[in-house]
Subunit: 300 residues, 2 copies
């Protein structure tokens, strides 16, 4: 049984129990109806050490940033405005003694503040060995304005908010031993970007940051939802091909992509990675946290 089969089973069971639930398992977030003119959108994302990140290559501040970013991206993909977050975090005793959690929360709060998101609760626990983070975010939409994966119609045009493949290229760099110095980066960049070697180094740094410090498309998601522009939307956290397949399956449509119009991250070519096929990374890499959405031709 694959994870997908398994989730489909849970989803089917959960559906039978739905009352007052507008949209549950199967979209980027769950929508529950309050008695007012707003729907509440909720999402949870579990990050496990040595599965989703490595402690050696992920500075704690960036982990705090990323834990929130992945959930904000889900909220954005629902066309919602993020409001509140909960954070469940488990760390081993050895980490507890360091300043890991201070830095983690620093990264978390910096991103939360930037989007007006309030940390409203959560849980803290010890673990025997590895760090685990569950990031929960609640957002709001005007009632019924949430954007699902299932609303695309034949003839709609497909858009994505930014360039793709950079985060996967950044992961390749990390796995081959690269690391990023976030603090002193800007100065280095100014000087070095003037030589070919400097441009390559700068591009590599951009790719690492795409992987380590993704920027969720909060404004775009909310805009597309509030203006009722997107007919369907998903975040491409698992790659363009996978995201588009989900969106099509939920919408009962097919899709045609023209290779030349896929926005491949230009830093991949500039970074001159061994054996990296930029188009393949854009299609099948993941973690870019861009929004993939469809729009009716008359509203483009």
């Amino acid at each position: 049984m694959t994870e997908f089969d398994f989730l489909a089973g849970v989803r089917a069971r959960a559906r039978r129990r739905a009352s007052g639930l507008v949209h549950g398992i199967g979209d980027d977030g769950a929508v529950v109806r309050s008695r007012s003119g707003r729907d509440t959108v909720i999402t949870a994302d579990l990050l496990v050490e040595d599965i989703d990140f490595r402690r050696a290559t992920m500075p704690p501040r960036l982990l705090g940033h990323k834990a929130l970013a992945v959930s904000l991206s889900d909220i954005a993909a629902m066309g919602a405005r993020p409001r509140w977050a909960l954070l469940s975090i488990g760390v081993p005793a050895s980490v507890w003694k360091t300043n890991f959690l201070d830095q983690f929360y620093e990264g978390f709060f910096a991103l939360a503040d930037a989007h007006g998101v309030v940390l409203a609760g959560g849980d803290v626990s010890r673990t025997p060995e590895r760090i685990v983070v569950d990031s929960i975010v609640l957002g709001e939409t005007m009632r019924g304005r949430e954007v699902l994966r299932s609303g695309a119609r034949a003839g709609d045009l497909i858009f994505v908010t930014g360039a793709l493949g950079g985060a996967a290229a950044g992961l390749e760099l990390l796995e081959s031993g690269a690391n990023v110095n976030v603090g002193g980066a800007r100065a280095t960049k100014k000087v070095s970007a003037q030589t070919p070697r400097g441009r390559r180094s700068d591009a590599r740094r951009q790719l690492l940051l795409r992987q380590l410090r993704p920027a969720p498309r909060v404004g775009w998601g909310r805009f597309l939802g509030e203006k009722r522009l997107a007919t369907a939307m998903i975040d491409v956290s698992d790659g363009l091909s996978s995201g588009l397949a989900h969106l099509c399956r939920e919408s009962g449509t097919g899709a045609r992509l023209e290779a030349s119009r896929i926005p491949v991250d230009a830093s991949i070519a500039r970074a001159r990675l061994d054996a990296a096929d930029p188009l393949a990374l854009a299609l099948d890499g993941g973690e870019d946290f861009e929004l993939l959405f469809t729009i009716s031709p008359r509203r483009v």
Copy 2:
């Protein structure tokens, strides 16, 4: 730095960011205000293998039950009605291949159905080695009816919903190698309870179930909140002494307990455990998931 100091720091930071947040970190759940006549109460509880449970002594069905039960208890302690749940669960590949998750969700859904709670989302991930579960529950109260830890006043009377110390005694039994056969239990009980040895065995079984299958006081919590009876409330997941200390600290009060009136679980004496002091277990043991609350004398 203790966990408490740490949480106090996070709480202070979160407070500075509060807008639209009625109550955040520091209570059993977070309260956020929708635009209607309802407040939404949210709680998250992280359960980590080898910290909060052991796979060898916790049947998967009971783990599913308990993961939800601890969060329902938090919602009850806020005087709220539980409505929706999210579940983030990480398991190693070896567990994925078994029927662990089926049984886990069976236990989860049985309890969810009993209380009309709908699973609305969550996340599923792999872990390298150990199981981790984050249980998130959202509940509702009439606006402003949530029961906080901070509302107790001098002169209020202190109540608890049931007997205490049983879960801690059950943990002692588990740690000394006992286990519980949930399926065939009822038949065994009927026959054996007629002899002294049978009564002892029955009592031990009750203690194990207090630890492994806690019954959250959902009805009591909601009743006390809706009728505005409790001035303050907390669940005694960390023991009576700890829970009462939290409640007093938040309320700015002291408390006096009479030892003879503390409802010690009668099964502890009947089970004749070595070295177990029933009163100490009731005071300082934990995980009974009873509600501790205060009531004004004129409303008793």
